[in-house]
């Protein structure tokens, strides 16, 4: 991408638009804005943005429905804005194709950081899909089902590897508990998150430099997990 990234901000609150649009522009992004879901969909399909920031509480169409309709035709990253306490909405949006979320009231840096991550991923996605991926000091070899740190192989159980593979194929994306359980254990296990907790704890012991302060396997409370490709230091 040589031209500046175009971001579509969808929020029905004029005050949020008036505060966020100049913020994004100040960082060199081009910004479109929409106050309704219908407007948002129109813009997405007529003038595709590089990234969508989507408020879930829209006056006309549910934000989750907007997610679903965008995903039917586009893989554009969607960052959802939603309220703390409405985890169910977030999970629904993520399951319907949103990539990430920021909780209101958010600070500008939080939103900008998420936008940066997703725009960068957009660039890296343009690479040819290979049989291996490197995240931090970990290299995951999908063909040989091996995980290597430096020159040492880290031995993983099949389930551990499946979990890591699923997360690493969606780097930085929040995957809901439900989605992970379905992928790794099958559709019958979606209501048994305890499997996942145990497996995550095992995997952290093996791959995290400090399992008590995870750097790769980041927990998103009540929502799911993400595999962080960059180290925030936080």
């Amino acid at each position: 991408m040589t031209s500046p990234a175009r971001i579509l901000l969808v929020d029905d609150e004029p005050s949020i638009q008036r505060a966020v649009i100049p913020l994004l522009k100040s960082r060199g992004y081009e910004v479109d804005s929409a106050g309704t879901g219908a407007d948002a969909l129109r813009i997405v399909f007529s003038h595709p943005p590089d990234l969508i920031v989507l408020d879930l509480g829209l006056p006309d169409i549910e934000g989750t429905e907007v997610c679903r309709r965008v995903r039917e035709q586009s893989t554009v990253p969607i960052i959802v804005l939603s309220a703390r306490g409405s985890e169910a909405d977030k999970v629904a949006a993520l399951d319907l194709g949103a990539d990430d979320y920021v909780t209101k009231p958010f600070g500008p840096e939080e939103l900008l950081a998420r936008i940066r991550v997703w725009l960068r991923r957009l660039l890296s996605d343009e690479r040819v899909e290979t049989g291996r991926i490197t995240i931090g000091d970990l290299t995951i070899d999908y063909d040989r089902r091996r995980l290597v740190r430096g020159n040492d192989e880290i031995r993983l159980t099949p389930k551990e590897f499946e979990l890591l593979a699923f997360l690493s194929r969606n780097p930085d994306r929040v995957l809901t508990h439900r989605a992970i359980l379905k992928e790794v254990w099958g559709p019958n296990a979606v209501d048994q998150p305890e499997h996942l907790w145990v497996l995550v704890a095992q995997l952290r012991k093996k791959i995290e430099p400090d399992p008590s302060r995870p750097r790769y396997l980041i927990s998103e409370p009540w929502v799911g997990y993400r595999l962080a490709t960059e180290h925030d230091g936080s």
Partner: protein, 502 residues
């Protein structure tokens, strides 16, 4: 007693009439005919009257039979021994027949009484099923029992863990029940079976003597559980019926308690709903301004904004702070209304001042929208609380501004009449959906179409109503024939014209 003598007289007269007719007029001498005729009289008498009258009639008939018809006629002596047998056979048949007839009648009476009691029980059960709960429900139940069973005294006694016995009485008689006796009877009834099959008696029943009145105590039973006692006096009711009555009363009490519990659960659920509605709307209404303020303030910290952008960001912050302040004000007003802490102080006021004050409070929401005001001339005064009234009008103005298209005018009129001050606020928006009208002033109620489209907490109109109620005022809403919604408030208060010199 008088009736008995009359019946006896009638019976004896009938015997005399048959005797006279057969001996003097018809000259019947066949003993069988005479005996059967007398027997008929005895049967009729025993069917309609008492046993002793029937017996006296039988003896009188026997004497007449002997004297007038058995030879030798005219004496009490009997010549033919066969006639002795006939005479005593007659007497025996007469006595047995009167006994049987009486027995049948007693049975019939009992059946009637039973039927009567069953009918009363049935009526009572129906009454009980139609009863609604409330403060006086127990007394009402006692009154129903007293009425249905013609009892001059009925008391329902329920043991309460906290406060001893709860007693609800009905009827003209007033008796003081001894709590210790109640306790004893209740304890005994709780231990025993409902019906003692061996002794064919209802156990747990007890009769007390209070001031010369026999008071029957029956346990109120639900299955094998005794929940209380039913006391009745002044009329004897069959123990079986009393027991059944106790059962019906127990069911009624159980039902009342169930209704109360359900009501309490319903109230709890409603308050729970209110709480979550408040939290949901607060959540949204706090988060949005907080997010905008946070982002705008951070923008101001940055070096990028130019002078125009800075002033824009400052505007956002001020506007959102204003919004928060208004939200806060709403919450406070709601709390004051809930606590019954809205104090009013009446004073002479110009109606136009109220409207101006209201408008100033919601200036921010109204913005540049035209507000057409038609108020009485400034020398007309009305006596009411200007602040509370203005606050209520402000909510109506805010509502009108929020729910009608930007740029359309809002018309406000004020008139003073015998009813007090009447203010109408009319918008030129889409009007109110008919389905929303009944709940429009309910707390946290948001119009179906407005939900999501217009940000709001659903508190404004509820607050307006609450504030006006503190002034004995009213508020209502309607749709105008030519479009738009009209809200009207009426606040009672005297009026006067300002003195020229003042």
């Amino acid at each position: 007693m008088y009736l008995d003598l009359l019946q006896l007289g009638g019976a004896l007269a009938a015997v005399a009439a048959v005797t006279a007719t057969y001996s003097a007029v018809l000259h019947v001498s066949n003993a069988t005919t005479v005996a059967l005729s007398f027997l008929l009289i005895v049967l009729v008498v025993s069917a309609v009257s008492r046993l002793w009258i029937a017996v006296v009639t039988s003896v009188a008939a026997m004497l007449c039979f002997n004297f007038f018809f058995l030879p030798p006629v005219g004496t009490f002596t009997i010549a033919d021994p066969q006639n002795w047998i006939a005479l005593f056979a007659f007497l025996a048949v007469a006595l047995v027949a009167s006994n049987l007839s009486l027995l049948a009648r007693t049975r019939a009476d009992e059946a009637m009484a039973r039927r009567d009691e069953v009918a009363r029980l049935f009526d009572l059960s129906r009454d009980v099923l139609l009863m609604t709960d409330g403060q006086e429900a127990l007394s009402l139940l006692a009154r129903l029992i007293a009425r249905r069973f013609d009892l001059p005294y009925v008391a329902i006694c329920l043991p309460r863990e906290s406060s001893g016995w709860e007693v609800a009485t009905a009827g003209q008689l007033s008796l003081e029940l001894d709590r210790a006796q109640l306790e004893m009877t209740f304890a005994a009834a709780s231990r025993t079976l409902e019906f003692d099959a061996q002794r064919r008696s209802y156990v747990g029943h007890r009769t007390l003597d209070i001031g010369g009145q026999a008071v029957a105590l029956v346990p109120l039973r639900l299955g094998s559980k005794t929940v209380g006692l039913l006391a009745s006096a002044g009329r004897t009711v069959d123990p079986g019926t009393l027991d059944a009555l106790g059962g019906v009363a127990a069911i009624a009490i159980e039902r009342l308690e169930f209704l109360q519990e359900r009501k309490a659960a319903e109230l709890a659920r409603q308050s729970e709903e209110l709480k979550s509605a408040l939290l949901a709307s607060l959540g949204h209404d706090l988060r949005t301004p907080l997010t905008a303020i946070r982002v705008a303030a951070t923008n101001l910290q940055g070096s990028w904004p130019d002078e125009r952008a800075r002033s824009e960001q400052t505007d956002i912050i001020l506007a959102e702070v204003e919004r928060l302040a208004r939200l806060f004000q709403n919450i406070l007003e709601m709390a004051r209304i809930d606590a019954g802490a809205v104090s009013t102080e009446r004073q002479w006021t110009q109606p136009s001042q109220i409207i101006e004050a209201a408008r100033a409070q919601v200036e921010h929401t109204i913005g540049a929208r035209p507000v057409e005001i038609a108020a009485p001339p400034p020398d007309v005064l009305v006596r009411l609380d200007p602040q509370v009234t203005a606050a209520a009008v402000a909510h109506l103005l805010e509502n009108a501004a929020q729910y009608s298209p930007v740029g359309t005018p809002i018309d406000v009129t004020a008139t003073i009449g015998d009813e007090g001050l009447r203010i109408t606020v009319r918008d030129h928006g889409p009007g109110i959906a008919a389905s929303d009208l009944p709940r429009l002033f309910d707390r946290f109620f948001r119009g179906v179409a407005a939900k999501g489209r217009v940000s709001g907490t659903g508190m404004g109109l509820a607050i307006a109503r609450g504030l006006l109620a503190a002034e004995n005022g009213q508020v209502w809403a309607e749709n105008c024939a030519d479009g738009g919604a009209r809200f009207t408030i009426v606040v009672p208060g005297e009026q006067k014209k300002m003195e020229e010199s003042a």
